[in-house]
Symmetry: none
Subunit: 417 residues, 2 copies
């Protein structure tokens, strides 16, 4: 079974948006054991889309499109489907009612333009959209499976994982594909490669990819074969060989984020956390609270962007800032201690640095960041030099702070410290 993905939208053809939908879909198809032959991207042009659908139906068994299902004029996918499959759009009363109910539940009047979204191709089946109003559309004809999904990434992802994936599994044959993600923080791609490459144990049908980002480097092991147990054994062998040499730079071997791992460690040790942020301006707190239930261990903190707030609210001594600077080991440490006091937390985590683009100096260039950590009255801090633009520096600072806390938590840090 060969699959083809078609992503739709002018914004993908003129370089305005990066197409992440096809990545999510491709990964899902791949892990289901379905080969992707081509990915085609086309714009909001009905003729080109009809041609792309025809072509895909000739060369693939499964065709999946994303995008162009919204209620406005530039959403042309339904028209193209009708043309490609020679069908009419018909009004689905039950779909409209369902949509009206959802708007009503939010206390919002449904804009009349949304009625368009109840106009759907004749004889199609539909996939539920849990968080948006565009349904997925499935047409099966002449042994081919066609599915159109909305282009809003979160809607497409949920629909793929919850609604489409079970249908795809029925189509897949006997090829077994297994993936394992090993997530690392605090090490560069090349340093990680140098460390693990001599130790790697490859077996038949296995590949290893490095996926670096500002949040760390993910190692993606992929194995394929016909016997699940054999593929799994190969994955385990390689993962083991990586684990042996990579050590504590690995924070998880599943999809959990670093902030979730840190949260679980805090909850397990019954410790509470507070933050004090200067150059990250709240991003560290934002990452920590992205985890549902984080209120169990996260109390809050101070965004100390100005020196006044550092001095008056975090009790960083004015002399510390005057003598060492707002970006210094001493200030970072005092901020961390201040955070524990102001939020009555066990642990304080603080970030102060120069995110740029201006504000650098010869001894403290743009990218210089100090991270402070305090627990039970004791504090410490560490200096880092991050590369990249303002956004990257801030993201790296947040990740590094979380990773520093993780290492403390798996090490000595405990109530007894």
């Amino acid at each position: 079974m060969v699959a083809e993905i078609i992503t739709i939208g002018d914004e993908l053809l003129n370089g305005t948006h990066v197409d992440t939908n096809s990545v999510h879909l491709a990964r899902r198809l791949d892990t289901t054991g379905l080969e992707v032959g081509y990915i085609t991207t086309t714009g909001d042009d009905p003729d080109r889309l009809v041609e792309a659908i025809h072509l895909a139906l000739r060369r693939a068994d499964i065709v999946i499109t994303t995008g162009g299902l919204g209620p406005t004029d530039d959403d042309i996918t339904k028209k193209a489907i009708c043309k490609a499959f020679k069908r009419n759009l018909i009004f689905h009363e039950n779909v409209l009612e369902e949509m009206q109910k959802r708007f009503a539940a939010r206390g919002v009047k449904m804009p009349s333009i949304n009625q368009n979204q109840a106009l759907l191709p004749q004889g199609a089946k539909f996939l539920a959209n849990r968080i948006g109003s565009a349904l997925g559309i499935i047409i099966e004809e002449g042994g081919k499976f066609f599915c159109a999904m909305p282009g809003v990434p979160i809607e497409m992802q949920i629909m793929t994982d919850e609604e489409l994936a079970p249908l795809l599994r029925l189509k897949a044959g006997t090829t077994v594909i297994v993936r394992r993600r090993i997530r690392t923080a605090g090490i560069t791609e090349s340093a990680l490669a140098e460390k693990i490459r001599p130790a790697l144990k490859f077996s038949e049908g296995m590949t290893l990819a490095y996926l670096p980002s500002v949040r760390g480097v993910d190692l993606c092991i992929r194995g394929s074969g016909t016997v699940k147990e054999e593929v799994q054994a190969g994955i385990n062998l390689m993962a083991g060989s990586i684990r042996e040499v990579a050590g504590d730079v690995i924070y998880t071997e599943d999809d959990r984020e670093l902030e979730q791992i840190v949260g679980e460690l805090l909850a397990e040790k019954r410790l509470t956390l507070a933050v004090a942020e200067s150059c990250t301006g709240g991003l560290l707190g934002g990452r920590i609270t992205s985890i549902p239930g984080s209120s169990a261990y996260f109390k809050g903190g101070i965004i100390a962007y100005s020196n006044d707030v550092k001095i008056n609210r975090l009790n960083v001594p004015r002399e510390t800032i005057e003598q060492f600077g707002a970006v210094s080991a001493e200030t970072a440490q005092a901020m961390a201690v201040g955070a524990t006091i102001i939020a009555a937390a066990d642990i304080g985590l603080a970030v102060t640095g120069i995110a740029g683009p201006s504000g650098g100096a010869p001894e403290k260039t743009v990218g210089t960041v100090y991270i402070g950590l305090a627990a039970f009255g004791k504090g410490k801090s560490e200096r880092f030099a991050f590369g990249g633009d303002r956004d990257s520096i801030r993201e790296r600072a947040v990740t590094t702070a979380l990773n520093m806390l993780r290492k403390e938590l798996i090490g000595a840090l405990d109530r007894k410290m």
Copy 2:
């Protein structure tokens, strides 16, 4: 002139890598005035690539590929080119010498496998690669322009900008493409469409696309024609017709982010800002401080995730929380006032809500968010109901808070308030 991009590599078809090469190329083609009809992605499979090249040469005038030019066995682009254009690979002595020189300059012996890279299609022209060993390959035949570039993003980008772009400009001819982005916040895609559609003044060669995200809806006007002034006039006419009916939901007509617009308004009015965040946990401060120079107007604030911090640090009366709840108009307003005091700022902006997935109640469901705004001792707050998952609700809350402040700033809010 229509262009087609072909990106090559198994890693793009199985969801391991995000294709950023086509984004860079598409943007470059678009700004040069060349329309991109399709982007096709295929794997390291020579037959599929030959088919993709044939197809692209039929439906486009300019075909550009990236990837598959390396020295190893899975690099199949040169073989596919020879098959598609019926040419032979011949050995280019001068290319080899050039390569050997570069390795020598780095004090490295050239691996013998790199000799492959001097084997290049007969009758082709080449594009220099300043930082890698794979040359770009150009074949012009039957009025079509074909170019193959390496897939390493930085090599491809430099080659595109320095070597390919001047050639593309010669091809662009007389078509002029002009774009305008109109950015809105605080209105859904459908409500916006309903508002502007009756008023829209379209002229020849103009399109309008809606780009919704959790941060608002961008309207993208694109006009093409042969006379720049005429295209520009058409864009102005449509933008004017949108402006007339959309009113203050538009926050900018260029690429600036909402947080930048808000920052500029604050700086202009010499007002300072502080935040108090509960469910957003710091994301609002994070967005505000993503703007370089935000320290001129942003003082900081409190991440009041726990009620203790709300009561003890923001001086929200305990009775207010007990009587109305932590998620209430009264608490939001008190938090905003507290923020101005703690950070000695003119304006306080506060967010408290239920981001989910749990924690909802019949009268306050997941997605219920109160935003408080205080200035010069006076406060107010507003209730919102956001859809989507935890991340979307938090992002929408941040955007809505910024937009509420923007509206105040363009309205009455001033020192005299």
